[in-house]
Amino acid sequence: MSAALQTPFTAGLAALHRDDPAAAVPWLELALAQGEGGAYASLNLGMALTTLARFNEAAPHLRHALQALPELPEPGVRLGVIAATRGDTAEARARYEDVLRRHPRHVPALAGLASLAEKSGALDQAAALVARARAVEPDEPELDFAAARLALAAHDAIGAASLAEAVLHRRPCHALAAQVLARALLLAQPPAAALARLDHLADAAPFSPAWALAQGFVLAQLDQVEPAIAAFQLADTIAPGNPDILGELGRLLARQDRAEEALATLLPALAARPANLEWRNLAATLLWRRHRYAEMVAMLRDGIAEFGPHPTLNLNLALVLNAQGRQQDALDAADAAVAHAPGNLAALVNRIAVLPYHETLGTAATLAAAAADIAAALPATPPLPAVARGARSKLRVGMLSGGFGVHPVGWLTLAGLEALPEHRFEITAYSLKPRRDALNARFRARAARWREVAEPDDSALARQIQADEIDILIDMGGYGDTGRPFVLTQRPAPLQLKWVGSQFGTTGLPGVDFMLTDRWETPAGFEPFYSERLLRLPDGYVCYLPPSYAPAVSPLPALANGHVTFGCFNNLAKLTPAVLRLWARLLREMPDARLVIRTHALSDPGTRTLAQQRFAAAGLPLARMELHGGCPHTEMLASYTTIDIALDPFPYTGGLTVCEALFMGVPVVSLAGDSFAGRHALSHLSNVGLPDWVATDAEGYLARVQAAAADLPALAALRAGLRQRVLASPLCDAPRFGTNLAAALEAAWAAA
């Protein structure tokens, strides 16, 4: 039929027929507007929109169709699918049952109901429903697949494998069937035999993607991620563009931290399967890693709008809003996730991760309360059974972190750890994120044992640590991105400490005996904010390793410029409205001064626009500001040559950023709060002998900045000697730090 002879309605149907729902939607909308097709136009439009996961738009059309065409099962089934995807099980069940009352043999309704039963654990009921559906449509592979899934859930490995194989013979790109086959084979036989079976199948049909897919799943389950990726690449090359294969490949690439490649496969997969929430969240976290925040927000907001307030969507939304500097919106999203799933640990951890940035709630007391909420929600995990430990001449120190490399954890701990006496301490590194960089190599050279432990779960990891007979376990990840603090609640080591790595407040966790700190971070009297005992090092709590490639300190730029240039290279999450207002006041009072903000989030165009709006709304003069995105580390350090005075944010103050500014000759004005994060800058500035650069309130902050800016000769003199001063100070004195750390660990060990 030529296009000229089609009506909008028939054109829409034709598009649906060729499996192109996106093309069908405008035709069907037009048909509906012109009164063509009647309720069938609504029905088809609703179905097209459902397929596109545009549930909010689909639902009214489907409801209209249901009303107008009560004898048809499709509208009810589609409404059931939408409800099920949104997690509204009761409505979904009611919809399916309603359809089945009129059409007892309606296969999609039976399958939908079976899926609900399966998810609720009613496997027998699910199996009976699937059997009913198969009696109606014995040749439908999707029903075979459902049966395979159920057989696997019932530990009938042989039955599951045989059903899944049958599905794959007919639908070789069926990734989920391949996954069931892989699991069934591994349940029934040793890995080598499972792989041999798949090799055999692949030999018989080398150009079918099915067996490569199943091999990929087997290998992934055995944590052989690289070979698994190879298998999925093979499947994708045989059957290019298949969204199910792309999605699985994307998942594995993400596991390997190959974010760009993972996004390149996941985004098209998600476009074809928009209702896949797991892929959506995964794609969102990948966008996070690439600092593509605005896209991430849009993706998560769309998801929440269409699929409801799923906790994971909200968790990720909270993180990205925070990264954009929208602390209140972030906390709202985090609170929404907690409210939707009370007691959910991930939601509570997410909340504590955004809380320290909040301008009024980022205090030691609220953080301690949030940590206590986490502790209260912990499932009862019995500690590992005690094991006999051999006598040794050295203390075995285990360090648990994803930051052993070019990362704040690396720059702030490596030099000190290198100076920890080898003959008294033996270090085992438990690395939560594979890294390969120069700092990582130095960590490897320092650690007697190196364990990559991103894959094992908390219990397995705790058992591993116990088996290694670690005496002192130091958590260096906390509630951060790759952190695994709950490992400590299983008490794998007799003495357990928290140090660096999202160290913004107390962990609140049972099993964390001490927090490594100093007298500036937690002066006497701060004990009530911490569930841990405070193990104060005599100088600062970290030891900064300046990069060998740091450029030279420049002369004070203000002398040549004739005006003062302020700078802040902290992330946007730390720039609260209160900070921006204070800076606006400062720039109002110093009409020649300029402000440079540099952070990776500003590379993201959407986030940059948003930041400009926020800055303008706070009264900051954009014309006197420079906004720069991320750049290589050397370049970032070099850009301090244009800064006279660094402005620290609050209540989450700069940590590594302060050390870097000081090393580049730029003094930092800070405002100390009472949380651990609120006193990082105080610790570092005090450690290099500049405690007077830390104010206790906004007025003091302004006064300190203005005083410094008013005496350029003094500022120039300070700058000229600042690097030497930093290097000579305890902040960079690795041997001294190593001695102090050794003494502190031995004292804690003796006291444990």
Binding site: P227, A230, Q233, T237, R444, R446
Partner: protein, 478 residues
């Protein structure tokens, strides 16, 4: 197969080949290999697929498979320079130096412009200790590829090996200036200095690089050797340990770290011995002779006396040379081993060197105790020259050797002498030293009786004599 199916299969094959090539370019051989394996199911495997598969296997370190794959590809495309080069590379990695040389030569003949082939040839020649020829070829490669860092590093290595230290220094300094962030030229320059007996400068070069935040096994390893040369063993231990941690599968470094730390495993691991001598084989003989290695001569002297005693012209039965190395004992006994000479060594490369001499009638590449357990014959002479320095406790080793000794036979061996009153110790060089008391007790335990135990200078190390014992023993029950 229907025309449509065949067409679909061709399309898949084209995609597999294209994707595999991209993956190989991206240095992802593990991901390319399954794609290439699938192409081998085609009725006619494309030549490019065979070549790419050999390439992937080589990149994955599966040298045996790579050599076979390249061999199969050569069957289909005889004389192809690329394939010869691939097989030669694999063979070189397998220690099949002579075969690798054949492949390299054939590849150069097939494509005289191929820098890969010439580079391979230079590498093989270096392994065979032919420094001057290696220098010439390596230099030709750098001429053709003036910007290729690995090619220049190869030339520098060849210079070092050929003792042309000034040339190496000049080249490495230039490479360092060109790529200041690269550790290898710096480590090589330090090594060059070390070989020029300038350990302090080697130390300075490596320390400067480490202070600049560079981290590399080679820097730590060369620094550790420089410190050992300056008798600063405790400091060396730190760097051997760092190097060993950065290369956790390197048995050589692990052993040195353990030795420098004063750890005393009861014998050196097979992996260590194999690693040391596989790396060493080409220059082992020259090094030992250069160090005034005397043990083969002592064996010859003792055998001459023994034969005079018993009035024989040749050794009255087969000879077993334990830890035969490159066959120096065989050379020393030339003309006296009429009843056969069997050599055992752990190192494939050593065995290859020995085989090339054509003196031994039987050679086994195996671990000492495994080989002894396999042998059935009884030997008139069992020699173990410079072998027991890789063993701590000698009881088992001597018992195993004694079991293969003919009733009237002679056991001759050397040990490095420990000044301790008893027992044995692991020395700083990674070799074991034994006390006289331990040797005597082990002989007794093994059912052997010493005929002579003479203090000897076994060789010189860095100008210093290495004190040892040369022992001649026979079975107690005879």
């Amino acid at each position: 197969m229907s025309g449509h199916a065949a067409h679909a299969e061709q399309a898949i094959a084209a995609r597999l080949m294209a994707k595999a090539s991209l993956l190989l370019q991206d240095r992802r051989p593990a991901e390319a290999l399954p794609l290439l394996d699938r192409l081998h199911h085609l009725p006619r495997v494309p030549d490019k697929a065979r070549e790419a598969r050999a390439m992937a296997l080589l990149a994955l370190g599966r040298y045996g498979d790579a050599a076979s794959a390249a061999g199969e590809a050569l069957d289909a495309l005889p004389g192809a320079a690329v394939l010869l080069h691939l097989r030669g590379r694999a063979r070189l990695a397998l220690g099949q130096d002579v075969e690798a040389l054949d492949d390299a030569a054939a590849a150069v003949m097939a494509d005289s412009a191929s820098t890969d082939a010439k580079g391979l040839m230079a590498d093989v020649l270096m392994k065979l200790g032919k420094a001057d020829e290696a220098i010439f070829l390596a230099w030709r490669v750098t001429e053709a590829l003036p910007d290729d860092m690995p090619a220049h590093l190869r030339l520098a290595q060849a210079f070092i090996m050929g003792g042309r230290h000034a040339a190496a220094e000049e080249l490495l300094a230039a490479l360092e200036a060109r790529a200041p962030k690269l550790a290898l030229p710096i480590a090589l320059r330090a090594q060059n200095r070390l070989l020029m007996h300038d350990a302090p400068e080697a130390e300075r070069i490596t320390r400067t690089a480490l202070d600049r935040g560079m981290v590399e096994v080679s820097l730590h390893s060369v620094l550790a050797h420089a410190l050992v040369t300056q008798s600063r063993l405790a400091e060396a231990g730190l760097h051997f340990r760092a190097a060993a941690r950065l290369a956790p599968h390197d048995a050589y470094l692990a052993h040195l770290a353990s030795a420098a730390e004063g750890g005393t495993p009861d014998r050196a691991t097979d992996a260590y011995v194999s690693a040391v001598f596989d790396g060493y084989a080409g220059r082992f003989e020259a090094e030992l002779l250069g160090m005034g290695y005397r043990v083969p001569g002592l064996v010859r002297l003792a055998v001459d006396r023994w034969l005079a005693e018993i009035g024989a012209d040749t050794i009255p039965g087969p000879v077993l040379d334990l830890g035969c190395g490159t066959g120096l004992v065989g050379v020393a006994l030339l003309g006296l081993t009429g009843a056969g000479l069997c050599g055992i060594d752990l190192s494939r490369n050593m065995i290859a060197e020995t085989r090339a001499k054509g003196i031994y009638t039987e050679l086994h590449q195996a671990e000492f105790s495994v080989a002894l357990a396999r042998l059935q014959a009884r030997y008139a002479l069992v020699a173990a020259a410079d072998l027991f320095c890789y063993f701590g406790d000698l009881d088992t080793a001597l018992r195993g050797a004694a079991a293969r000794l003919a009733p009237d036979g002679r056991m001759m061996f050397s040990v490095e002498l420990s000044p301790a009153p008893d027992g044995w110790e692991l020395g700083d060089s990674g070799r074991y030293r034994h006390s006289l008391a331990h040797v005597s007790a082990a002989l007794r335990q093994a059912g052997l009786v010493a005929l002579t135990v003479s203090p000897e200078t076994l060789r010189h190390n860095g100008g210093e004599p290495v004190a040892g014992l040369f022992v001649i023993a026979r079975r107690q029950d005879c």
